[in-house]
Symmetry: D2
Subunit: 284 residues, 4 copies
């Protein structure tokens, strides 16, 4: 991958934001290869994403950041400047189910996910061999049913140690403690096995079977303190029929889960997602 | 369309149902062009649909029905025998929104819906001209906000007069009285403008926008006394993004609504739907 | 619809295009509600689309156009400035098949297509009544099998008279003469009833049936002198099975044809399409 | 998985096939849990698939086969009787690309593919470690560019030794010799990385990029002597845009390839596919 810089910003809407941000980039020689802007009329908020060719910016990202300081104050920008050569550290948490984990590992090894995976954390030993074949450290952290705090303390410590930029719950099946959710705000990506807000809570495929729906789905979202209520990143569905039992729904759902999770993670890694309230702006 | 007979049955599951039903058809020379059978293990119930070439059955459908009598009793069959030359009478009910109505009328005129449309009933005058251009009687039946009974009595009378086999609520926007729902059990097809069970109730597109979903959908279902809870016939979805406002969701949703409603109606007209409890078996 | 201005441009890629175009907009007070930019690395070409709130530009579109003159020369811009209150004139051409025409008319009447439809031209009388119900002039222009020139001369005259900005071939079934294609370059939108480049030419549904494909599709494209080879605007598919005969493919295909044609037309009307060589950039 | 028997047949169409086949099953006490029948009018051919609960047939499958002998001759049946406890032996052939292989292995280990995988054959060493982690023998068989016969002789020997019922080309990238195609007729499943018949031959994603299509796809088919021309089992597509370069098409296509290949293999394993000429009947 060639080096790119990304400028991600959102702020109260007003005249001239694109031009003034663009002006800082241009006066440094920055070559914009892709850009998108969105104005949300309801909240009067503005969102913007620029992708800039790194070799066109001899000044470097720190100098660019410095030059944005005054604009940041003036326009009240939430601003991120990203250097794509600094790979994001993605910690994956998994349980016994292997489909999402296995899928992510293959994508990563094939070069289709632009990140490092410094470790995998699981509350079961099952996937250790596979993870280690990929050359990734595997940590077995037991979450005791009646005493979850010690396990989650260890999880938090690992997340800190590995300097995780992002935590992916690849069908992890455990609910993160509220404090950890808050600490990792908009950094924890979950895949929920239903087309939210349908079938919130436990055993969504059983719920779907009882209701007799003709499509089932999966939802990738940021984790918040409200279970299954976080900002939605991506969703998809697959057709089912009367002849599909719960087991079939589970099996068919896996394909959607792993695809949607990988798409959501990719959008996160490419800094295409801006969260505003409980909704996401996603620049495709 | 050539004449076909259809045998639709469901009953408690046991050995020999296909063979014994087939035996009645075969001894009369019936040429089966298509058949499908489904056994629901959970409820131990059996479902079957045979399509038989009409010209292979010189005995006629009444004689065939007579010959099925003893089997019907013995196997406790719910049984329908249909002659495809007796077109179903489909009464369409519409409001001001034209997309579903206009779509159904064009399909019907193009010969893609094998039914008669003896009349259209609407609580608004708007669509009279279009309906009448298609040569179909148009009845304007006002449903008074504070006194709905007289209007619905008139609706019921029209449905009776026209001997409706099926009533299609093409975004009718009014809730049918409970008694009418019961009288027309599994004969009233509604299109709900959400991917049920998400966003039950009023203004689903507003609800969808607030939740920030990435797909919106529509659901075609039989109307029961429980609003939006009837057996689902078909569903579909369309992708939306952060840049779609409620108006855009409404517009994008229309495409799904009309397509799903037409598909559901077609399945009904081809006797492909068997209702069991609150779920449908649909032989494609 | 509120008044918006749209700035659509493409040019050889270089540093500063977004900023300099934005600068012209901003110094006039222009409020950008939406913008997207794309750089094609292979051809080193840049594409850009700005949507600007009309009431934020007291100078008016002519003055804005004047101010862009020098930038246009300097950056070698292909540039369009559009005032959304000047509705595009869309002439629809149809044949006997009604599904696309009927669908477009309903969308237009419902306010979902932001254009005028000054007339419909058809080589058959069948749809006159429906078109006239919508209050739109209907012209029956016969294309003689052995002498097509007079008919097409009349078509060209009508297109000129009505000052058509866009001509939609709604399953028109006739091939436009080469000279007309050239004259109306990137203004004629066709819907082809296959997933191009599969099944180019005649009777694509018959071809699809013979090949035994499991999905069929439709393709909306700009018409060029090379039949079925023009720049693709949109495509979609629908699932079919072994039990679908050619007639069923035709019927199922209609849903895709009308949906894809309407989506393509909408993208054209919103000035989201930039043609480059034989490909399209479509800002969603 | 519980034991089931499957009866798969096709034959010239005539009156009474379902009934007479059903009669044999019923007189032995066979409990039909699922059945589907299809009559192809064009070729006047009949296709049928019965799924029978094994424990309802005390006579066993050999006795059932014996009892079908006379019917087989009389009705000219192509007939297969399958015992689901005899797992099919599926040999996977792969190259360097891992996405299909990795996906199939995970599905298999998760119990979602009802087969044995006695070995994986590859012309590269890359995937040995992963395959062996799953406990499956890995054979590295080099296909020399200028002398392919010895390599394919070894492949054939392995296929024979492992008594392969099915060979899956999981992006194998080599063309099997004609004699092997014929020997393994309707037993070799390939995944082609285009929506056939579009972009037959080499580098379909490059072809797709040049043509500017808006959807790309993949096709699962049985391998025949005619490259990319065999009977199609399944296909699917994914949306792409102007901003997707060839590399992106390759990446996006992988998701479709692996999903479609797995679906096609599953249909094969469940004996849902009947080949007739160059087309497939697939009982879902």
């Amino acid at each position: 991958m060639s080096r790119n810089f990304r400028l991600i910003l959102d702020c109260p809407d007003q005249v001239g934001i694109v031009t003034r941000a663009g002006e800082v980039i241009t006066r440094n020689g920055g070559w914009i290869s892709e850009a998108a802007h969105h104005s949300d009329e309801e909240s009067n908020w503005f969102f913007s994403r620029f992708e800039i060719q790194g070799d066109s910016l001899p000044c470097g990202i720190d100098e660019l950041r410095r030059q944005f300081e005054s604009l940041k104050d003036e326009l009240k920008l939430n601003l991120r400047l990203i250097d794509t050569t600094e790979k994001k550290q993605v910690v994956i948490m998994a349980s016994k189910g292997s489909h999402c984990l296995s899928d992510l590992l293959d994508r990563w090894k094939s070069g289709d996910l632009d990140c490092d995976i410094p470790c995998v954390i699981s509350n079961h030993e099952d996937m250790r061999g596979l993870v280690e074949w990929y050359g990734i450290p595997f940590h077995h952290v037991v979450i005791e049913k009646d005493n979850k705090a010690p396990g989650f303390a260890q999880v938090e410590q690992l997340v800190d140690e590995y300097k995780a930029d992002c935590v992916v719950l690849a069908r992890y099946m455990q609910i993160l403690p509220q404090a950890l959710c808050e600490k990792l705000r908009h950094k924890v990506i979950n895949i929920h096995h239903s087309f939210l807000p349908s079938f919130i809570g436990a055993k969504p495929y059983h719920q779907a079977s009882r209701r007799g729906v003709k499509l089932i789905g999966a939802t990738c979202h940021y984790v918040t303190e409200q279970l299954d209520e976080g900002p939605i990143i991506d969703q998809d569905v697959v057709r089912v029929s009367h002849s599909d039992k719960v087991d079939d729904l589970v099996r068919l759902g896996k394909d959607v889960e792993k695809t949607v999770l990988a798409r959501g993670l990719r959008a996160h890694l490419e800094d295409r997602i801006l969260v505003h309230g409980n909704k996401t702006v996603i620049f495709s």
